[in-house]
């Protein structure tokens, strides 16, 4: 079933959808993202319910630094763009370009994470720790879950890069790339909501 879809030894256009397994994986992943949407939606609701319970900690508008957040946003959004270029390369069946763009995506993702780790470290020293208040617990859980998703994505895409360089672009590796791209877009969209609901709204006194 899986490796039979070579036509004259060439890969078909949209290789990720050339097999039933590939199509199943893509559909299954869309469904999974539906569930993830509910997951983050619930986390956002929890955050919104508890964000005013600051207790002795620093309130949001004193804590957050928009320039830092804007830089992080730039990095992540750009990495989403580069993942689009990667999928482009996938459809052009260009493995080298595909790998290149995936590497750039990963690097941008790592830069985002480093900024976020620095940001959390800074907050803890400002007296905004995980156990400080309901606001802080829900903040770290929401933003931290997102960060964990970014970290997982970085490891995942790195593994795919390795597989692409060893096995090449096939109807087996193609769906992996496509699905990882979907994942990366999703966490980018979630970040847009975090940026708005947590940071921008947090700056409103």
């Amino acid at each position: 079933m899986s490796a039979h879809s070579h036509v004259d030894g060439h890969l078909p256009h949209e290789p990720e959808k050339a097999t039933l397994e590939g199509r199943n994986k893509i559909l299954g992943f869309w469904l999974f993202l539906g569930g993830e949407t509910v997951l983050f939606g619930t986390l956002f609701s929890v955050y919104l319910a508890l964000r005013d319970q600051v207790l002795d900690g620093k309130p949001a508008h004193e804590l957050f630094s928009l320039p830092l957040t804007a830089l992080a946003t730039l990095l992540l959004l750009t990495s989403s763009l580069t993942s689009v270029f990667a999928v482009h390369a996938l459809h052009k069946l260009d493995n080298k370009a595909l790998i290149k763009w995936l590497v750039v995506t990963v690097l941008l993702g790592i830069a985002f994470l480093i900024l976020e780790i620095y940001e959390f470290y800074h907050y803890v020293h400002e007296g905004h720790g995980f156990t400080t208040s309901a606001f802080s617990s829900s903040f770290y859980t929401l933003v931290g879950f997102h960060g964990a998703h970014v970290a997982f994505g970085i490891v995942w895409i790195s593994m795919i890069i390795r597989q692409l360089s060893k096995k090449g672009l096939t109807v087996v590796t193609a769906p992996k790339v496509y699905v990882a791209g979907m994942y990366w877009h999703f966490i980018d969209v979630v970040w847009v909501f975090i940026f708005t609901v947590v940071y921008l709204m947090g700056k409103v006194v």
Binding site: N24, V38, V46, L55, T131, A134, K176
Partner: protein, 626 residues
């Protein structure tokens, strides 16, 4: 094209530990779910023994709260849902003409995570206390201040792990039903059971993540001192109720919709008539699923949400009665004008109808918020939900098991024992729960360890206990039936009920490893019945005979689940296990567990599974022209 990779085939225990075959996974779910049903049933009997007379001290108050918590949690998450998954796995690919589900590996992972989550939860009985804050685990009672031992930790982590399995299953069946139907099977030609599972899977997908977040928050509060629900940290205890019930209400529709599907199949088959009002049934099921997300706060009428919320949720809840009523009448009119045979399966299906309606109408009564101020948290509610869950779901499961047993095992369950099972369980059920409506209205709250004498509760509690024993007898009779059937020869035919209407009855019993030698061509609703009425013996194939590609077995799901199981212990006991050098022992164990799981995931990603082929000469009989 031939393939030269080695075919890995296991036998015996290894076969079962590594299987990715939906039919075997269905049997695993049946065994595990059946086992937990017995555990939950034993807990129920202990509860009823404690309550048979006033001021009884058969068990202590602490133990009693553990019993009610574990009874509810076990029955819902570890018995009812897995038994439904057993039938889903056994039947759905067959009903849609597919050879397996979309993600066989994930199917296995779903089973093992459920299994280890369930084991983790039940280990709490032996390690210092089971959870005792109710299956709803309200805070602050479930927080560390008021539940200092590890009971609630087992609840949180056991359910979290088991819940992963359910979510995976939901995604799997959605993708399977969307992508893998046989040629000619449009959505509106799918059997009703398939539709029911399709909508149920969507409910699972959208409801379980809310539970995930709730459990994470409670876990963080308990294990990492977060402040989600801790009032002194700014947390909000009502928030837990919202999160829990946004999951919890769709959950009960997840429980009942598959039963509705089973009833549709069984009644239709044993009336020799097609389902009355198929399109309305589909639409009504969708409506119930959708409305199910709109009504969660009817569990919170007394929490103090205010009159506007209470009024809105009352009306929304009442509305669900309309599509449900449509289904009841459609079943009755399916039987109208039919030729009804009362096999054991059909006894359960027909017994379901009046019983579930009784449960449904008390649901409408509960929906009226001001009246609910009296009913809530009393035995009236206990009566209501047992009527719909036991009288609805469990009757449905018994019906489905009797009906599909030959397809799963190649043997028909004994009909006489089946009838005895039905009558003892049916009568026992009504005895147990009908009186509880009155107990609640007369002032008996729920979840009470004992009650005072002279309040008028004594006789009805005694009746209720006797009924429970009778239900136990019925369950044992079913067990005996299942066990004795396993000694009979596997000689059921393709279509043992002789009136099969759907695709699963076109293949041998039990189904061969590859399900269909040739994928069938579906020419209408009730695909097999249509062929029968047109004078054909079987289905027209949609493809020529060829080698059949099968997914490879794998031990990874088993180890991934063990990894999570170990991690659960590590997190729970982090505050008790001290340090090894600079490292907290518990967290270290947790990390090791998670690394096992993540490592298996990485292995799965790196090593490509090309599956194997069953060659033509290995297939049974001759097959037909495509």
């Amino acid at each position: 094209m031939s393939h030269t990779h080695t075919v890995k085939r296991y036998s015996g225990l290894m076969d079962w530990l590594t299987t990715v075959d939906h039919k075997k996974i269905g049997i695993l779910y049946l065994l595990a779910g059946g086992f937990f049903f017995l555990v939950g049933g034993l807990e129920a009997l202990l509860i009823r023994v404690q309550l048979w007379k006033p001021l009884n001290d058969f068990v202590g108050a602490d133990t009693y709260n553990e019993l009610i918590t574990m009874h509810g949690t076990t029955m819902i998450f570890l018995a009812a849902m897995p038994l439904l998954f057993a039938l889903m796995n056994a039947v759905i690919p067959l009903q849609i003409g597919a050879r397996d589900v979309a993600f066989p590996f994930l199917n296995s992972l779903g089973f093992w995570t459920f299994f280890f989550g369930g084991v983790l939860l039940n280990i709490s009985w032996f390690t210092g206390g089971a959870p005792d804050a109710g299956w709803t685990s309200y805070v602050p009672l479930a927080g560390t201040t008021y539940s200092a031992n590890h009971g609630v930790d087992y609840y949180v982590l056991g359910l979290q792990i088991a819940g992963i399995g359910t979510l995976i299953g939901g995604i799997n069946f959605l993708a399977t039903i969307i992508n893998m139907r046989a040629p000619g099977m449009t959505f509106m030609r799918m059997p009703m059971f398939t539709w029911a599972i399709f909508i149920t899977s969507a409910l699972i997908l959208f409801a379980f993540p809310a539970l995930t977040v709730g459990l994470v928050a409670l876990m963080f509060d308990r294990i990492f001192s977060a402040n989600f629900f801790n009032p002194s940290g700014g947390g909000n205890m009502v928030l837990w109720e919202h999160i829990f019930w946004i999951f919890g209400h769709p959950e009960v529709y997840i429980l009942i919709l598959p039963a509705f599907g089973i009833i549709s199949e069984v009644i239709s088959t044993f009336s020799r008539k097609r389902l009355f009002g198929y399109s309305s049934m589909v639409f009504a099921t969708m409506l119930i699923g959708f409305l199910g997300f709109m009504v969660w706060a009817h569990h919170m009428f007394t929490t103090g949400l205010g009159p506007i919320a209470n009024a809105l949720f009352s009306i929304a809840t009442m509305l669900i009665a309309v599509p449900t009523g449509i289904k009841i009448f459609n079943w009755i009119f399916t039987m109208w004008g039919g030729s009804i045979k009362f096999t054991s399966a059909n006894l359960f299906a027909v017994g379901f109808i009046p019983t579930f309606v009784m449960g449904g109408v008390t649901g409408v009564m509960l929906a009226a918020a001001p009246a609910d101020f009296q009913y809530h948290d009393s035995y009236f509610v206990v009566a209501h939900f047992h009527y719909v869950i036991v009288g609805g779901l469990v009757f449905g499961i018994f019906a489905g098991l009797h009906y599909w047993w030959p397809k799963m095992f190649g043997r028909i369950l004994n009909e006489t024992l089946g009838k005895w099972t039905f009558w003892t369980f049916f009568i026992g059920f009504h005895m147990t729960f009908f009186v509880q409506h009155f107990l609640g209205l007369m002032g008996m709250p729920r979840r009470i360890w004992t009650y005072l004498d002279g309040l008028g509760f004594n006789e009805m509690n005694l009746i209720s206990t006797i009924g429970a024993v009778l239900m136990g007898v019925g369950t044992i009779l079913f067990l005996l039936n299942a066990i004795s059937a396993s000694f009979k020869p596997k000689n059921a035919g393709n279509d043992p009920w002789e009136d099969g209407r759907t695709l699963e009855w076109t293949i041998p019993s039990p189904a061969p490893e590859y399900n269909f030698k040739q994928t069938p061509l579906v020419r209408g609703y009730d695909a097999f019945w249509k062929e029968k009425m047109d004078g054909h013996k079987g289905m027209t194939p949609a493809e020529p005979i060829g080698p059949i590609h099968m997914p490879s077995p794998s031990i990874l799901p088993f180890f991934m689940s063990i990894g999570l199981f170990i991690a659960g212990f590590g997190f729970m006991y982090a505050r008790n296990w001290g340090h090894i050098g600079p490292l907290n022992t518990g967290y270290t164990v947790a990390v090791i567990g998670l690394l096992i799981t993540l490592g298996c995931m990485a292995l799965r990603s790196i090593k490509d599974d090309h599956g194997f082929h069953i060659e033509v000469h290995e297939l049974d009989d001759k097959g037909g022209k495509a």
